[in-house]
Amino acid sequence: MADNLFKLRIITPDRTFYESDVVMVEFNTTEGEIGVLKGHIPLTVVVAPGIITITEESGTKEAALHAGFAEVLGDSVIIMAEIIEWPSEIDLERAQEARDRAEERLRARTPETDIARAETALQRAMARINVIK
């Protein structure tokens, strides 16, 4: 079992969020969702807001990952996350409010609406809400 593990490190500006040997990690990138197993080709990806699923030997863990980038190497993955939260750290009400606000902004769509920003905000809020459920 042990030879299909690789090292995963998730680092944020404030702390080392996660560091352990894992079986698989799945997360959202700007090009779509990817899942990484040991022996992946070297790859650099830019993170898009979404849920990150970490599969350890003993089970899976989820967190909301919002921004950053990742360096994937054969035997290690480093995710330089700007924002990442465990479900227990998320304020569900705030996330729901943020989702409603972003949806409202996208619906209203005045010329001065920053669509890209509203969309990222919506994605971010959805990631937070989904990871709790």
Binding site: E31, I41, P42
Partner: protein, 292 residues
């Protein structure tokens, strides 16, 4: 010999100075504790960011990207991190010296000042492109982001051709190293670490080339601003810790110098008092002798 009253007054003034330096030392000790734990927490990210970006670039072979080439026109941009307040020993002047007497001394510089002391010292000789002095009080990631987008804009528009950052590295409480770091263009693989060299060799032998998703250019467009931001942020946090460390040391030695002077003055005062008593006694005895 100075009169007793003069010595006493002098001693009083030194004593009140000592009280101030002692209080300042206590304040910066407390601030240092906070800044130090901040610095330690962000250090991992900061170093991992540096290592990761360099390792990505090393594995990428020949990249053609605007952030990886020296600009053709413009000045050399230097982000200078100093403090807003003085009384921190050599803290500010060491950073300033790094620029005025270092490798960049003869270049045409554009200074991005973080910290009033550096701005004032360098403003006489060089152009101050931007002044972010307020940010150093409480470094926030969002502010580092604003700064990095500004310098990157200047770089892209050809106002500056290279970007350096000058700050004081915080090694531990007593050792702070003024450091000049090149931010842009990024030259991958400038690590003298022997172990890393070995790894690099292995990587080249394995012939694994880095893949990018999205395309190289787009990925680097997103990645490098993040890299610059986190380096600026990390440098600011370290500099704040170093500033408080330097001030604590300076105030500590000021306090002990004051202590020493007070001791000396106490001795002088006692001598003066003794000699004045002796003199009075001699006069009284001489007077008594003259009468009898």
């Amino acid at each position: 010999m100075a009169s007793m009253r003069d010595i006493k007054r002098r001693k009083g003034s030194i004593q009140s100075t000592q009280q101030i330096t002692k209080a300042m030392k206590l304040v910066s000790t407390v601030k240092l504790q906070r800044a130090k734990s901040n610095a330690e927490r962000s250090k991992t990210y900061f170093h991992a960011m540096y290592d990761t970006v360099h390792s990505i670039l090393r594995k990428s072979g020949n990249l053609e990207h605007r952030y990886l080439k020296t600009g053709e026109t413009g000045k050399t941009g230097v982000i200078v991190i100093t403090s807003n307040r003085g009384l921190a020993g050599g803290y500010n002047s060491n950073v300033v010296k790094l620029i005025t007497q270092g490798a960049l001394a003869n270049e045409d510089l554009a200074i991005y000042a973080i910290g009033k002391k550096g701005r004032d010292a360098l403003g006489r000789k060089y152009e101050i492109a931007q002044d972010y002095s307020d940010y150093i009080e409480e470094p926030v990631y969002a502010e580092a982001m604003r700064m990095s987008s500004q310098v990157l804009k200047d770089f892209e528009e050809g106002r500056i051709k290279e970007i350096y950052i000058a700050y004081t590295g915080f090694k531990n409480t007593v050792s702070h190293i003024p450091t000049l770091l090149k931010l842009l263009p990024i030259i991958p693989g400038q690590e003298p670490d022997a172990e890393k060299e070995g790894e690099l060799q292995d990587e080249i032998e394995n012939n694994t080339l880095m893949n990018f998703e999205p395309e190289e250019d787009d990925a680097l467009d997103l990645l490098i601003p993040k890299y610059i931001t986190s380096l600026i942020y990390g440098c600011m946090i370290e500099a704040v810790a170093a500033e408080n460390g330097a001030r604590m040391q300076a105030m500590d030695s000021a306090t002990s110098n004051a202590e020493e002077m007070i001791d000396k003055l106490t001795l002088m005062y006692n001598r003066a008092r003794q000699s004045s008593i002796t003199q009075e006694l001699t006069e009284i005895i001489a007077g008594a002798n003259a009468i009898s």
